[in-house]
């Protein structure tokens, strides 16, 4: 596995094997990465949404109360649409799911790794955890933003806060082998199914409530 340099990235973009669109300035391209900008939707946890994250409500095989589970999942987040030139305040300790402005498309032999830009990291902004973008992915990239500092950070759509670096895979992934991410092709952040494929480790399904009488 080797990282792509700026020259490699340009070459892969020139034949559109690799897409990061739109690139708004020369500054957006680093020596071995491409900067990513804040998009226009912020998903945050609702203050009065749910008491805790319970994988059980994602378990579709535990359909005791589909409506209740759906409600819990839907109530979890609050969605904010933030037009350009307006701001969103990320408070200390807060997590916000934010799309990149850019649409990213990866070929069969590249993997992307997303990290914070160092200048923003120094302000306490963390682009959390899920940083790997698989081959064949296309769509916006969801940034999991957290403010690890002591004071709020004001974010404006369009700011470059993250960066993506690209790595060659030793063997290309044929499309037949690819299990596209549940987030592929998405236009804005969404919560994932945290229990998909791991249902065996969940407690047995609850029994449906008995009907009255």
């Amino acid at each position: 596995m080797s990282a792509l340099s700026k020259l490699d990235i340009r070459r892969r973009m020139s034949n559109q094997e690799l897409v990061v669109s739109p690139l708004l300035s020369a500054k957006q391209m680093g020596d071995s990465s491409v900067d990513l900008r804040v998009g226009n939707v912020f998903l945050t946890v609702r203050a009065r949404g749910i008491s805790h994250v319970d994988p059980r409500v994602y378990n579709k095989k535990d359909a005791t109360d589909g409506h209740e589970n759906e409600l819990i999942r839907r109530q979890k987040h609050e969605r904010h649409e933030i037009p350009f030139e307006t701001t969103f305040l990320l408070h200390p300790g807060m997590l916000a799911l934010v799309p990149t402005l850019e649409w990213v498309k990866l070929p069969a032999d590249l993997q992307g790794v997303v990290t914070a830009r160092s200048c923003w990291a120094r302000e306490g902004l963390s682009i959390a955890t899920a940083t790997l973008i698989n081959p064949h992915y296309h769509g916006i990239i969801t940034l999991e933003l957290a403010n690890l500092g002591q004071i709020p950070i004001s974010l404006y759509p369009g700011l470059r806060i993250a960066q993506i670096a690209f790595y060659n895979l030793e063997t290309s992934m044929p499309i037949s082998e690819v299990r596209l991410s549940q987030f592929a092709g998405t236009f804005e952040p969404m919560q994932g199914n945290i229990v998909e494929g791991d249902e065996a480790f969940m407690p047995p399904p609850r029994k449906p409530p008995k009907a009255d009488g």
Partner: protein, 447 residues
């Protein structure tokens, strides 16, 4: 409680709602102008209500109507949350409508306040106008309310139908109405079935009228007297606004018009006090396309693009009958009307649709084909990205073309181009184009 007390109480309630409005999250730019105007109106009404007799029926009746109207305006803002409609599209619409609808009320050059909101229903598209100019002149600025169908939030391709609604807005502005009447309406209806009430009645009840029309007439016990001057004027306005939509939104308008109207009136022969039969509108638009020459693909030689456009126009024009009973406007009338409208729209920045260059259309279509949001981005990876202005109506046009044409690239990672997905890509492209425009406007920030 007497009526006057109740009215003053309701003024207090509206004041409370206006206060609550400030705590909500509305579209970019906030609701400041709207809030200011409504607050001013409320104050004016309070001052006017204060001296009236507690139970004097005439002023009570007048002011109960005014207070009620203010209450409705305040309520509408509650449906104006940015998450309920496509704000990238709404911002484009606002940019288009604002210079067109700018008018002189009390203060010269005051622009109208444009509020955008969402409501239910497939045909919710409309613009609420404050039409009583004598009353509005007591206030300050005219309020235009643009309504999107809530459930069609992301269907930006269908939103091209707004061209028609902007036509209604323009028709309500005295300055524009006078020109539209003289330069468009007059030539359009100088002769033919819709030139007079007598001619229209004769046309509708003609023995050669299609059986479907006769069925509608029988079903609703329609009599020729139902078609009076007001009805005829409404029909004429509808046709004029269709032409307005075509010249402001281009081919995307035709496609949205067909998709929406053929859904609500599949036979195309229904008519009412407000609308003539749909087939007549389609016929006029079909004839207009012939005149404009768009379906001949002006300046386009690339085979891929010609083929895609062929499929689009074939789909759009297949049911248009530019002969016989539905054909109520002759070519010479229509060409004069189009020239008149082009002249009016050409006087206002950006309003007139300009047919895109072959290169631009090809670029946008290729992005859609590759499942990438279409915009003026440079995908080449060049050292200095070359950013272009792409008009949102070109994106809509390309979106409709993409919907009609067979894919030529098979990329299994790209989802099937469902109508919904094409819409989302176009909407995303419009959003990205806004970012491009911001950088182009202030290059020092991006370079």
């Amino acid at each position: 409680m007497n009526p006057k007390q109740f009215l003053l109480e309701e003024c207090e309630n509206i004041q409370l709602v206006l206060g609550e409005m400030l705590s909500r999250d509305y579209l970019a730019g906030g609701a400041a102008d709207f809030h200011h105007e409504l607050t001013q109106r409320l104050e004016i009404l309070r001052r006017m209500i204060a001296p009236i007799e507690a139970t004097d029926p005439d002023p009570i009746s007048l002011f109960s109507g005014e207070v009620s109207q203010l209450s409705e305006l305040a309520h509408r803002i509650e449906r104006s949350h940015a998450g309920e409609f496509s704000w990238p599209f709404a911002e484009e619409l606002r940019a288009l409508t604002d210079p067109l609808c700018r008018e002189d009320l009390r203060t010269p050059g005051r622009e109208p306040i444009i509020r955008i909101l969402a409501e239910g229903g497939l045909t919710a598209y409309r613009i609420f106008l404050e039409n009583d100019l004598s009353r509005i002149q007591v206030f300050n600025r005219r309020i235009f309310t643009i309504v999107f169908p809530r459930t069609l939030k992301h269907l930006v391709l269908s939103h091209a139908i707004f061209g028609h609604e902007i036509g209604h807005a323009a028709w309500s502005i005295p300055r524009l109405r006078s020109r539209l009447s003289g330069e468009v309406s007059q030539p359009l209806f100088t002769s033919g079935p819709l030139s007079s009430v007598t001619n229209a009645r004769a046309w509708l009840t003609n023995a050669n009228a299609p059986a479907e029309v006769k069925e509608v007439i029988a079903q609703y016990n329609w009599v020729p007297e139902n078609l009076n001057k007001d009805v005829l004027e409404s029909w004429q306005e509808e046709l004029l606004c269709d032409l307005f939509g075509l010249l402001t939104f281009g081919p995307a308008f035709l496609a949205a018009h067909q998709a929406l109207l053929s859904t609500v009136d599949p036979h195309g022969f229904s008519f009412g006090d407000d609308h003539p039969p749909y087939v007549t509108r389609r016929a006029m638009l079909g004839r207009a396309i012939e005149y404009l020459g768009w379906s001949n693909h002006p300046g386009i030689t690339e085979e891929f693009l010609r083929s895609a456009l062929d499929q689009f126009w074939k789909g759009q024009l297949k049911d248009v009958r530019i002969t016989g009973w539905p054909d109520v406007i002759e070519s010479p009338q229509l060409s004069l009307a189009i020239q008149g409208l082009q002249s009016i729209l050409g006087d206002v920045s950006r309003v007139l649709f300009i047919y895109p260059s072959a290169l631009e259309l090809q670029h946008i279509l290729a992005m859609l084909e590759a499942g990438i949001p279409p915009c003026g981005a440079d995908l080449s990876g060049a050292k200095e990205p070359h950013l272009r202005n792409v008009d949102f109506r070109t994106i809509l046009f390309a979106g409709w073309v993409r919907w009609h044409c067979e894919p030529t690239i098979t990329d299994s990672t790209v989802h099937d181009p469902t109508f919904s997905r094409i819409n989302r890509l176009c909407e995303r492209g419009m959003l990205q184009q806004r970012a491009i425009n911001l950088v182009k406007k202030r290059p020092e920030s991006g370079l």
